[in-house]
């Protein structure tokens, strides 16, 4: 058991509870998130003073920043009740994400788990049920292998205590400062959990680093912070989340991801988001890429009620490269607003954005992207491709790219297409003996192949199964 858990156990006493009760009037007096709440979180984690200060600074910014609700066509966030976060994040209350028992999970989620064939231990880990001892062992084994190479992979709370120099330098300073947006600020104030990955110079972590087994390990996965620092000429592939739905009682997820790609380093960050369909998923993800470094974002957004997610890369050094692959799928009642942001701040930088979206049963997808080429970024090139597939007339598919080009020696191309599933394609497959549903599923599987081929095989298989599930019975 980690010292973190020991600490929790030691402090989670009746007396401590009483003390909190005394404080509870302070919570109520000022509705919403207060300094006191943030202090309690920080104290509970036994954090150093500097982290508390950062949290409090973020809190100030959270109060000042406006809601991102004035964007054209942005998801409706009026139901996001920030005040509700307070009881949720207070570490002394037992209502952290996840349900108490497997049986308490909504039926549709249990059903999906079963159909995906996810083993019991993983089910527990994914739903935040239990302490996931079995996955802990797997995690430990992997950890030893990395440690020999000097790679650090631990949870973020531990990193704050054990690797303060690296964390202090990179944590919400250069990549995602809390001032970036309201939910980044909220995240900065109440963040908890997440992963820390450090890869030393010239080190290649051949096998993908997966946060799969440790999801929700401390039950507070909804504001998790991931920090990846890849030093010069190193290489790492980090995979987060999984294709099974993550169930949370509280309806806001606001994660933060920061990636530092050193000179000549290569980082791939892959994630498949499948939050339960009552969740507002508002994340801030950003990478800073030094000379000749490569950043690759692979994101699939399947779940949630509303998602606003635009992984960003700042191409800071000459020759840096950024690749985005994003897939969004919106069904009934879902509004998936995703995209990509790239800043070309140096010569010879390259970026490609490939976005695919599927909307059906009244769902809404929106590609919202920004490509900025600064003056002086000579010979920068960028290509953006957005393809949207629509299943029916209740659905909506929007594409809203923004391009800001301040340099003339550039090659900028943006292309987008929207269409329905081709009758001809369906006919072709049907004439070869597939029924209508199978034909359409196959077309969709082909449509999203650019994503699945970037994922390790077990994820790709699950992704495909998940798409099948999402489409089950929904095809006319």
């Amino acid at each position: 058991m980690s010292s973190d858990q020991d600490h929790l156990k030691d402090t989670d006493t009746e007396a401590r509870f009483e003390f909190k009760k005394e404080e509870s009037s302070a919570f109520e007096a000022e509705k919403g998130l207060t300094e006191e709440t943030v202090r309690v979180i920080s104290e509970d984690k036994d954090e150093p003073e500097w982290m508390l200060e950062r949290r409090l600074r973020a809190l100030e910014q959270f109060k000042e920043l406006p809601m991102p609700d004035d964007w054209p066509g942005a998801p409706d966030l009026s139901e996001v009740d920030v005040d509700e976060i307070v009881p949720y994040i207070r570490p002394d209350i037992e209502t952290r994400g996840g349900a108490e028992n497997w049986e308490d999970l909504p039926e549709e989620i249990q059903d999906t788990f079963d159909k995906l064939g996810i083993p019991e231990a993983e089910k527990n880990a994914l739903s935040g049920v239990g302490a996931q001892y079995e996955s802990e062992i797997v995690y430990q084994n992997m950890q030893e292998r990395w440690e020999e190479k000097g790679v650090i992979f631990c949870d973020m709370d531990k990193a704050v205590r054990e690797h303060p120099e690296i964390v202090k330098e990179h944590f919400m300073t250069k990549a995602v400062p809390p001032s970036d947006n309201k939910f980044a600020a909220l995240h900065g104030a109440v963040w908890s959990g997440g992963s820390f990955v450090y890869v030393p110079e010239d080190t290649n972590v051949e096998m993908p680093v997966q946060a799969y087994f440790r999801m929700n390990s401390d039950g507070m996965g909804q504001f998790e912070h991931t920090l990846i620092v890849a030093e010069e000429n190193s290489e790492v592939h980090y995979i987060e989340g999984c294709s099974a739905p993550k169930y949370a009682e509280f309806n806001l997820h606001s994660g933060g991801v920061e990636v530092f790609v050193g000179e000549g380093a290569h980082v791939q960050y892959s994630t498949v988001q499948n939050w339960s369909k009552n969740t507002y998923n508002l994340n801030t993800k950003r990478a800073i890429c030094e000379a000749d470094g490569t950043m690759e974002w692979v994101s699939g957004s399947m779940g949630s009620k509303a998602t606003m997610l635009y992984p960003s890369t700042v191409l800071k050094g000459p020759g840096a490269t950024d690749n985005h692959i994003t897939i969004a799928m919106a069904g009934e009642g879902q509004n998936i607003d995703t995209g990509a942001k790239v800043y070309h701040n140096a010569p010879d930088t390259k970026s490609t954005i490939e976005s695919k979206s599927i909307s059906k049963d009244g769902g809404r997808t929106n590609y919202r992207g920004l490509v900025h080429i600064s003056d002086g970024a000579e010979d920068a090139s960028t290509s953006v491709e957005c393809d949207a597939l629509m299943f029916d007339n209740e659905s909506t598919s929007d594409t809203m790219p923004y391009m800001e080009i301040q340099e003339n020696k550039v090659d900028v191309a943006h292309e987008a297409t929207v269409g329905k599933i081709g009758d001809e394609d369906v006919f072709y497959l049907q004439s070869r003996g597939l029924d209508d549903d199978d034909a359409k599923q196959m077309i969709v599987a082909g449509f999203i192949e650019p994503l699945t081929e970037e994922l390790p095989i077990e994820y790709a298989v699950e992704m495909n199964r998940l798409i099948e599930l999402e489409m089950e019975g929904s095809l006319g």
């Binding site: 007339n393 909506t396 790219p401 090659d411 191309a413 269409g419 329905k420």
Partner: protein, 403 residues
């Protein structure tokens, strides 16, 4: 917003303009309502990205730019057979009911601050009335602005199965002591099976500020094609829009711009598909030199009921200078899956390969570049029906290249 003009505008001024034009009561009221609304209206929308406003309209000193009673201008109106091309006061006499039916029905007179300002203050106007079944070519309206500010209004009504091609151009006649302000509103109502091509060439003084909104309603099988050429002005904010309201209606919006020095062009092409079997094609090509900046927004909005829609959009910008900036946002809003829609946008410079090809054939680099830029505009020239517009646009581009 202290920089706005309405503090110094009075009802008396608006009434004087209206009376000078012999306007009926309802129109004066529309103007006074617009004046009244100024206080609550916002500036036209501009694109905002994190940390940047693509165009800052609030920074202009409208109080200084606008002199409501200085209305000096010259206009040539060249009509075609069977068409009425009338000055505003004449038009009110001859087609009072037609104007009352259509005025403000396409462009909301209080759509935003600058439109309402134009509604309240317009002193120059033209009505183009194309009766049923008439085919008319080469209607021309040329405006030379000689005043501090000029507010212009144009109404085109094309009745069933009529067709018309129109050229409207704005240039500066006499400059005033201060930067000038031109504002134009154009409404086009195309009836069933009517065809309207409305070409505009804006070549105002490079100290002038220019705001224009052009919008058309296309009825069943109707077609509205826009040509929008922008070379002049210091700052231009325009929106060219078509609502495809009738089944089988079509619209093309073709834009050409060439910015140099510190010109700023904020140009929008927007189309709404609101009926079945509609088609839209948006093509804009532009060149930027020196420190010029272009801001382009293209919107293809496909409504829930717009079955069998075809909608295409292309925007290409050529950068001739390292200090220029090209911003673009082509948007697709699709609510009906029975749609074939695409858009693309590119920004680049004159291709090195093309340059090599030309220079290897003995063309000096300067001439080679000029020829390639002129060639870049050819797809736009090809769409222009009125010779005068095409020839003048070609000439102006050639002249600017050789400056």
């Amino acid at each position: 917003m202290s920089t706005q003009v309405h503090a110094t505008l009075t009802e008396e001024q608006v009434t004087e303009i209206s009376e000078d034009l012999g306007e009926p009561e309802w129109l004066l009221e529309t103007r006074l309502d617009a004046l009244d609304a100024l206080e609550d209206l916002d500036m036209p929308e501009v694109i905002r990205t994190p940390g940047r406003d693509w165009t800052n309209l609030d920074a202009l000193e409208y109080e200084r730019l606008v002199d409501p009673l200085d209305r000096a201008q010259e206009k040539d109106r060249i009509d075609a057979e069977g068409v009425d091309v009338l000055a505003w006061d004449e038009a009110l006499d001859e087609h009072g009911d037609l104007i009352e039916d259509h005025f403000g029905s396409v462009v909301d007179p209080q759509r935003d601050y600058l439109t309402a300002l134009s509604t309240a203050l317009f002193s120059a106007g033209t009505v183009v009335y194309v009766p049923e079944g008439v085919d008319a070519e080469d209607v021309k309206v040329r405006t030379r602005m000689n005043s501090q500010s000029l507010f212009n209004y144009t109404l085109v009504v094309a009745e069933e199965s009529s067709s018309v091609t129109i050229l409207e151009r704005q240039s500066t006649g006499e400059e005033t002591d201060d930067d000038q302000f031109y504002s134009g509103v154009v409404e086009v109502a195309a009836g069933e099976n009517a065809y309207v091509q409305y070409g505009a060439l804006q070549n105002l003084s490079e100290d002038a500020y220019n705001y224009q909104v052009k919008r058309g309603h296309a009825n069943t099988y109707g077609t509205i094609n826009w040509i929008e050429g922008n070379l002049g002005s210091r700052l231009t904010k325009t929106s060219v829009e078509t609502r495809l309201l009738g089944d089988g209606s079509e619209s093309q919006i073709v834009g050409a711009f060439f910015g140099h020095v510190d010109q700023h062009f904020d140009l929008a092409s927007r189309v709404w598909h609101e009926a079945e079997h509609t088609t839209a094609d948006l093509v804009t090509r532009g060149v930027l030199d020196d420190e010029a900046r272009s801001v382009y927004e293209g919107v293809q909005d496909v409504g829930r009921d717009a079955w069998d829609t075809n909608s295409y959009q292309r925007e290409n910008t050529l950068m001739l200078s390292d200090d220029a900036e090209a911003d673009a946002s082509p948007k697709l809003i699709i609510n009906n899956h029975d749609t074939e829609a695409s858009h693309s946008a590119t920004v680049g410079q004159v291709s090195a390969e093309d340059m090599f090809y030309m220079t290897s054939r003995g063309v000096d680099p300067e001439s080679a570049k000029n020829m390639l830029v002129e060639g870049f505009f050819v797809p736009v020239f090809e769409e222009i029906a009125v010779d005068e517009l095409r020839d003048d646009l070609e000439e102006m581009i050639a002249a600017r290249l050789r400056q």
